[in-house]
Symmetry: C3
Subunit: 153 residues, 3 copies
């Protein structure tokens, strides 16, 4: 049994003040603002930026090319995507094929939700188990697969 | 790189007889009955009560205010919710805004399913990937987002 | 507080050449081909076979009775199932009640997707958050809960 063993770590992260991380977590090369909480079993990849006063809950996955504003809540098992396999092929690490995601301020991403590469404006709630396939430009509560607006806040 | 480091643990848990936990797991302040199995990468929060002969599979998340009966199977990646962000705001830890969930006996919660704060009666199967948004009062097999009854057992 | 403590491990695995595993991971009794990458917080159960040049991303769960071809990408939080609880009962470990899954070559399983026991042919993309409930015999891009074909590749 011979394999290349790596281990999760919190490394090369620019932390603001008063950030808590529950380990094990795999968090590297990213920027995280003040007063954030990051639960266990989380992965946050390089070049991610997260604002102040955010909670990233257990089992969340935040990939490269994601930017998150202030006062956001990324719930348990919520996951982001930066490559859509539109031609059915792996990108082979060619990042020119990847797309970015920008999340505004005061955005709630529900439990087990999945976020394709989109823009989400401020003051939005994404319901649990939703799949967000397009930009969200109006505040409100959205849910479903694919997402629909349910109501204003 | 300066942050407040915490680590997952199994702590302050009231265990019945013959309970197995595969670690790492983050399980605290809860009550777990006899003959239960808890897989790896699981989080179970405080004040949760789980009956006898239950299996809580890998990657599951069980939040505060959830009660689970006997002979239940909480499958991989299944997750519970106790706060719905109905006004688009974080609760700020104000638990008077949270809601509870009660799961009966012999309930199967499928893989990657998400359970909002509801009551689920005995002898129910929730299909994989489902989102349960309302109470389930009749035994049967349910699936979808949102959930629909598929058939009787 | 008295319980039977186990710990995740990489054990009894037949690895090909140049396989990387990011730990903690729970991987046992399976066969993994050359040039594979396995992210953190992954569980792969016994008797699983994975081909060459595959990526198994963080938080994925691959159960017994799953076979995966070459050049596949199992994205973050994607999970497999081998027992459907059709009669509303636990199998009690009776594997004659379980079903197998066969994934072809060059198959992408999207983030947070859930795969029931099915056959998926070569050159298929399963969208994020999808639930695959039946066999897929034609190449193409599929998404939804339950899955529908979206288009050819």
């Amino acid at each position: 049994m011979n394999y290349i063993k790596k281990e999760v770590a919190v490394r090369n992260v620019s932390f603001g003040k008063n950030v808590t991380v529950v380990e094990p977590a795999n968090i590297y090369g990213c920027t995280i603002g003040d007063d954030c909480f990051i639960g266990p079993f989380v992965e946050i990849q390089k070049d991610v930026t997260i604002g102040n006063n955010c909670r990233i809950q257990s089992h969340a996955f935040i990939c490269e090319l994601v930017t998150i504003g202030n006062d956001c809540f990324i719930s348990h098992g919520a996951m982001f995507i930066n490559y859509l396999f539109k031609n059915g092929k792996l990108s082979g690490g060619d990042k020119t094929m990847w797309n970015n995601t920008v999340i505004g301020n005061n955005v709630i991403i529900g439990t087990n939700a999945t976020i394709l590469p989109v823009k989400i404006t401020d003051n939005v709630v994404i319901g649990a188990g939703s799949v967000v396939t397009k930009d969200i430009n109006e505040p409100g509560i959205y849910a479903g697969n694919p997402i629909k607006k349910i109501r204003n806040i």
